[in-house]
């Protein structure tokens, strides 16, 4: 690791941490980085993250997937059904299979029959929503606790654990010390925040969460470091060229869409099995579209999707756990944009400095005036952010070149 890389890590990790720590101490809002907030944020991040990865897999192989929401709905239903019948792990498996069913329909419609990919996605959303309602009516109605829009509750859950030493998990029979909690309760500058964030990420972890987070590096590795990943991305960038080199574009697109559907299904499964213990109509609440949004401003890269999902997960988490702290969050945004403003002035980047100044002024006003942001408006935050990102950074986004364009193998172009 060379010096500039170390320097970068320090500025991008410790910098924001220091700023948020100052804000926390200044405003006395410990909830900003408490383990409770971060743990909740992590739980809310997972479904969005998986939905975003589902979008990434589909678009990287060249097919737009507006149907993620519908595939997630299939995942919530089949997952809850499987978990109710056979236990939580089988439930997750059924969630994946349910999502894959949606992905398969999407593949048949768009890859085999070449219909408009957006149309297919929209129809899959409708089909999934009413399809599971039909199934609920057949299966859940009449069961104790079940109904047309709700499944009976599951009796067992995916096991949870604390990481040893860091968060006081068990090793054998020995209960290890809870180091991060010790730091968190001291509330020292930076160290207290590391304790809170670390403990939120390492305590009371569900195995399903671990699997979900592991999917990010696995996807990145498969898509960017293996032969099949290269071919899959080639199918999204230039299917004609890929085909001329002997790549079976359509077969890869089938595969990509099955993975996409499976991930979306898993996203749904985490909602109905991990985050709660039953299926409920409307459980996905637009998270499939938020996932799509994270994919866009994650610039179609796994690390970007992770970043975007964390941002939305955190925003949602802090709203849930400590809505009073939202004002402090605006102070944090103001401080960061002020730093950006100074840096941009030094580097003589006029447009960027004006942009940062604008955000600084807006967030300062927000901090001064808004004690509690109306719930109904904060709900739309992910969507507003996406529109702003699209409107301001559109030039820098680079989607797969041929995503959305139907491809017919063996025909002249």
């Amino acid at each position: 690791m060379n010096r500039s890389k170390i320097f970068r890590i320090i500025t991008y990790v410790l910098g924001p941490l220091a700023v948020i720590s100052i804000v926390r101490l200044w405003t006395d809002q410990d909830a900003l980085t408490s383990s409770n907030t971060v743990g909740t944020a992590l739980r809310l991040t997972v479904p969005i993250l998986l939905a975003g990865m589902a979008g990434l897999w589909a678009e990287r192989c060249g097919v737009l997937n507006i149907g993620i929401e519908g595939m997630m709905i299939l995942g919530t239903w089949f997952g809850a059904w499987g978990a109710w019948q056979f236990g939580p792990w089988v439930g997750l498996l059924f969630a994946v299979l349910g999502g894959m069913l949606g992905g398969f329909i999407h593949a048949i419609a768009t890859v085999r029959f070449n219909i408009d990919q957006i149309i297919s996605g929209v129809v899959i959303n409708l089909l999934a929503f009413f399809g599971v309602r039909y199934l609920s009516d057949l299966v859940f109605v009449g069961q104790p606790g079940g109904g047309v829009s709700q499944s009976p509750p599951q009796t067992s859950a995916i096991p949870r654990f604390d990481l040893p030493i860091l968060s006081g998990g068990q090793i054998g029979g020995w209960k290890s010390p809870d180091v991060l909690a010790w730091f968190e309760t001291r509330k020292w500058f930076i160290l207290g925040d590391i304790g809170g964030i670390g403990r939120g990420l390492t305590s009371n972890l569900s195995w399903a969460t671990v699997i979900a987070v592991a999917i990010v590096p696995i996807s990145a590795w498969v898509l960017w470091r293996t032969r099949i990943g290269l071919r899959l991305r080639a199918s999204g960038e230039s299917p004609v060229a890929a085909e001329s080199l002997g790549v079976m574009v359509n077969r890869l697109r089938y595969g990509g869409l099955l993975v996409s559907g499976g991930l979306a299904g898993l996203a749904g499964g985490t909602l109905s099995i991990v985050a709660s213990s039953y299926y409920r109509q409307g459980q996905t609440a637009g998270r499939g579209f938020i996932g799509l949004a994270t994919m866009i401003f994650g610039n179609w890269r796994p690390s970007g999707v992770l970043g975007g999902a964390m941002l939305f997960g955190y925003a949602e988490g802090i709203k849930l756990v400590a809505s009073d702290s939202i004002a402090a969050l605006f102070l944090f945004i103001a401080a960061v944009s002020l730093i950006f403003f100074v840096v941009a002035i030094i580097r003589r980047l006029r447009v960027r400095s004006l942009f940062a100044l604008g955000i600084f002024i807006l967030s300062t006003i927000a901090y001064q005036t808004v004690s509690t942001v109306p719930e109904s408006l904060t709900q739309s935050l992910p969507y507003v952010v996406t529109l702003i990102v699209l409107a301001t950074a559109n030039q820098r986004l680079r989607p797969p070149a041929m995503a959305g364009v139907p491809f017919r193998p063996g025909e002249p172009h």
Partner: protein, 369 residues
Amino acid sequence: MIESRTTQRNFDGVRKSFVTLGSSLGAIVLALVICAVLLLLTGKDPLVAYRQILETGLSGDKLLEMLKRATPLMFSATAVAIGFKMNLFNIGVEGQYLFAALIAAEMGTHVSLPAPLHVLFILLVAMIAGAAWASIAALLKIGRGVNEVISTIMLNFIALSFIQWLFDNFFRDDSDGGLNVKTTKIAPSGRMPDLVHNRLSGMFIVALIVVALYWVVVFRSRFGFQLRASGLNPIAARTAGIPANRMVLLALMLSGAVAGLVAMPSVIGDVYGYGPSATPTQFGFAGIAVALLGRNHPVGIVSAALLFGFLDSTSAELQLSGVPSSIVKVIQAIIVLVVVIVNEASSRWLNRRTAERAAIALKGLASVA
């Protein structure tokens, strides 16, 4: 010579519309077969379900309900079709019409006008509000190149929370001590008279007028020609001097204006106001389905809306007879999917046949020469 060529062209046109009609009907039958299989797989008798649908749907009462249920679908499908005609996918009809419903319902309580003008005023406000919300997506597309599919999806969600905020904080009628979750009732002068008392609102006629206007404007006017030309070949259209940006703005605003009318059968024909649970939702997505099924053609839209209305009208009786009513919506979705697939396949088949014929004709010419 010239005459024979025109008859040939007419003949081709007739054949093409026969292929279209035939493939659509065939696709509907195919979709019903697929649904029958699904019903069988889930342990229900498809024949019982289909007979139930036909028997209840064809009674006099239900035919009126079919027209009632088709009304909002005709508006939303027309709104979607205007976009489609310019290759713009307006997924945002949902947000546009709900926003328009709230604004129109609220504005409608603040004016006092004689009856026809009051109704007209509310309709106009709804259209302006719908167009305004749609124009956000248009401006993002023109100014910043943001794809309208993504922006209208996001704007749907933004609209939902914006509407809720407006409603909760400003527009809610508090006179009942918070029990009433609607806006203030619109005065009788602002209500659309019923065609059939309590069964069918006059909005049905408005819907037919809007579809007819859609045909005139999009298929028979200079503006409509420019719109369709921009959709078919944007580069050629721009070369021909059609202002691309202005067309995007106008098309999306027109689409949004028609979308603004979707909830009007409820707002001025039934509830006489807006309420989060009283105003019907999901018509935006159903409209996409109807527009696809009707292939963006006025006659197609009306027929598809009537088919959907027919199916919807039977759902309550279907549930009573032991088949979950949601199967109606599943049938609709499968019909749309199959119709789109069959249309794609049949148009490819037509194109290939035309190409083959042209090749044969060329060969014949070459041998003569």
